[in-house]
């Protein structure tokens, strides 16, 4: 009898676990690009500034402590509904500019920089970031160079997007890591690759000898080894 109860208990736990896991998987997989916004739990100088301004205008009655809590949330919500914004209590870019707060300089810089990078740079940088985040800088430039060498090679699609999104060509595309926001290093590497720096000696393939499952890939003559990757050309 006792045993039965324990089994039942364990079963329940497993099932609840399953359910939670399934929901978590669903929630976690889409990777959103970060946008600037402040809400519950946010802290810091910007929050302080929000509180100060809203207090001055009579929306906020709490302390100016730089902690985004219930009172701040309520105040932002009031402010938003009075100013024709979506009253969600989240201080996003629109709300911040209405309040008259300069979004911190570095995040502005980052934004305008990424948009001034051309589409090609961004696309290649995303592929580099997804494929070789942990690689030395030259290894990152090398990945970008391989993409560009493929564009110029007749056996591959003839555009950057065509090469990157060719089915099965890059693991980072297959598993969605290409959707991560590329870091500064990847952007810089993409720029260098587009400007003509090719550390690979014209390679059109690369693989990681430790994880490459393909036997076929070893038939490709190797040109160079950089970091964890082997580069080759056929």
């Amino acid at each position: 009898m006792k045993l039965k109860k324990i089994t039942l208990g364990i079963l329940t736990v497993i099932m609840i676990g399953n359910l939670c896991f399934a929901i978590w998987i669903n929630k976690v997989t889409p990777k959103n690009i970060e946008t600037i916004s402040y809400t519950w739990g946010s802290e810091g100088d910007v929050v302080k500034e929000i509180q100060e301004k809203l207090k001055k205008w009579g929306y906020y009655k709490g302390n100016v402590d730089g902690k985004y809590g219930y009172k701040t949330w309520q105040a932002v919500k009031d402010f938003q509904s009075k100013n024709g914004l979506k009253a969600d209590g989240i201080a996003g870019e629109q709300t911040l500019s209405k309040i008259g707060i300069q979004i911190p300089q570095d995040s502005i810089n980052k934004k305008s920089n990424t948009s001034s990078y051309s589409k090609d740079v961004y696309l290649i940088a995303a592929a580099i970031h997804g494929e070789g985040r942990g690689e030395p800088y030259i290894g990152q430039v090398a990945i970008g160079a391989v993409i560009l060498n493929r564009v110029r090679h007749p056996s591959f699609p003839n555009s950057i997007a065509g090469v990157i999104y060719q089915p099965g060509a890059f693991d980072a595309v297959s598993d969605g890591q290409i959707n991560l926001q590329p870091g500064d290093s990847a952007l810089k590497a993409a720029r260098d690759a587009l400007n003509g720096w090719d550390p690979t000696g014209g390679a059109i393939y690369y693989w990681n000898p430790a994880t490459a499952k393909s036997k076929w890939i070893w038939s490709v003559p190797i040109t160079k080894t950089i970091g964890k990757h082997v580069f080759g050309k056929k």
Partner: protein
């Protein structure tokens, strides 16, 4: 009393276990429901993907069929105008076929030769279109290429139509299976999968080299670097000396050789690779490749994270630094042609000027830090591949005549003589007219022999990229 208690206890127990069961049943039902929902969604996505692949597959077939028919027609044309029109159609159809085939989840090894064939066919047709437009009739050699290409187009078309008739017999292509099996197919063909194109790749393996005037022609892959061929091979110690001189001995704390080009690789410039640690750094921050033949620095990249200072160099000052650097490294008379500024660095393109002619193929790029004017990058692949003493053809068209070939609305501001590379790497000797058309900067190149307009470049100018005058 005791009996009653017992009963109550049992009843309670039953209730609790009933309770327990119902909770379990509810959770089970929820999980099941969730699972079914997920499964259905998965089926939907899968179907969507299958349909996308199916569409790309059928389009590939249609385009390849068209290519096949059009190639047959070319033989019947007898005027350049007609040839031009048909080759232009082949150019488009082959390029679309290539695009669609590239979207299918075939393993690279089974599809690469077919992709290459379609790229080259499309590219070849484009060059034939141009030839015909220039008023030339196709010669014997061209026709021989056309027949050969047609043979392969037929093979590809037949093979694809075989697959499509398999589908018509009620079989379905399971693209997931193809994706998984791709690797195996390339290794052994014992498994026959509906829709596999391993047969095609086998028949295309011995495709002869195709040389014509276009960027995908086989000659580009096989070009030999002009600077390094027939030069003495250096040792890696000699290479280290070259690195030392290039960067400056007094700045270096250590040099480490990180690798060298495998001798088995074909059509690459063999190099020694080095990593340099500077005196004020702990880790290596410079990567540099030196060619084994002749000991030229192929490229160098300094990737130190610099703290940006307020003191910024102007473009003019950065250019001076780059020019001094090139002079010192014995690349004399280098003419800057284009700047590209990113963050706090600028990449400047240089080409040598010989007897007042700018040699654009012999490209060298220099990257300069705008913070302190340090040279943080050098790239000379173009120079090493192309630089040589050129026998320039005789000038048959005067500047005046060349001017008259350009539309009068084009306001010419500067004229140079230049050798420019076409996409096929063929070099042509031209007048370079820099100027404006409707307030947009353009460069027009007119061949000095034939007066043909070889190239028109639109200069995209913004704060970050500047073309020199």
């Amino acid at each position: 009393m005791k009996e009653k208690n017992n009963k109550l206890y049992e009843w309670k127990k039953r209730l609790s276990s009933v309770h327990m069961y119902s909770i379990i049943i509810i959770i089970f039902a929820l999980t099941l429901g969730f699972g079914i929902y997920q499964y259905k969604q998965k089926l939907n996505y899968r179907q969507y993907l299958q349909n996308r692949f199916q569409q790309a597959f059928y389009e590939t077939i249609a385009y390849v069929d068209n290519v096949d028919k059009l190639l047959a027609k070319t033989k019947l044309t007898n005027s350049p105008e007609q040839s031009a029109s048909i080759f232009a159609q082949i150019w488009k159809e082959a390029s679309s076929a290539q695009e669609n085939l590239g979207e299918l989840p075939y393993h690279h090894s089974s599809v690469s030769s077919a992709l290459k064939f379609l790229s080259q066919l499309s590219d070849f047709s484009f060059s034939m279109t141009n030839k015909a437009i220039d008023g030339f009739k196709l010669d014997e050699e061209d026709w021989e290429k056309v027949s050969r290409l047609q043979m392969y187009a037929q093979t590809l078309s037949n093979e694809l139509n075989n697959i499509s008739s398999e589908i018509n017999d009620g079989n379905r292509i399971d693209w997931e299976e193809i994706e998984k099996a791709g690797e195996k197919l390339a290794m052994d063909d014992s498994t026959k999968i509906i829709g596999s194109i391993s047969e095609v790749s086998k028949q295309f393996q011995d495709m002869p080299t195709l040389i014509y005037d276009g960027p995908f022609s086989d000659h580009i892959e096989r070009m030999e670097p002009r600077m390094t061929r027939d030069k003495e091979t250096i040792t890696k110690e000699e290479g280290e000396k070259i690195v030392e001189n290039f960067i400056g001995k007094d700045k270096i704390s250590s040099i480490k050789q990180t690798g060298e080009t495998d001798t088995k690789a074909e059509y690459v410039i063999p190099v020694y690779s080095y990593e340099v640690t500077l005196k004020d750094q702990e880790d290596p921050t410079i990567a540099i490749d030196v060619t084994k033949q002749g000991g030229y620095v192929l490229w160098m990249l300094n990737y130190t994270e610099k703290e940006s200072s307020d003191k910024k160099l102007s473009l003019e000052e950065a250019r001076k630094k780059a020019e001094e650097f090139l002079e010192e490294k014995e690349y004399p008379n280098m003419q800057p042609s284009y700047y590209e500024k990113v963050d706090n660095t600028v990449v400047i393109n240089f080409a040598p000027k010989e007897n007042n002619v700018i040699m654009y193929p012999d490209l060298i790029k220099v990257k300069v830090s705008m913070d302190d004017g340090e040279i943080i990058g050098f790239e000379s692949l173009g120079y090493i591949m192309m630089h040589h003493d050129r026998d320039l053809p005789e000038i048959k068209i005067s500047e005046e005549e060349a001017r008259s070939k350009i539309t009068t609305d084009f306001e010419i501001k500067k004229v140079n003589m230049a050798v420019i590379p076409l996409e096929s790497k063929r070099e042509v000797f031209c007048y370079e007219f820099k100027g404006e058309y409707e307030n947009n900067p353009f460069i027009v190149y007119i061949n000095v022999e034939s007066g043909k307009e070889e190239k028109i470049l639109q200069v995209i100018q913004n704060e970050n990229s500047v073309l020199t005058q």
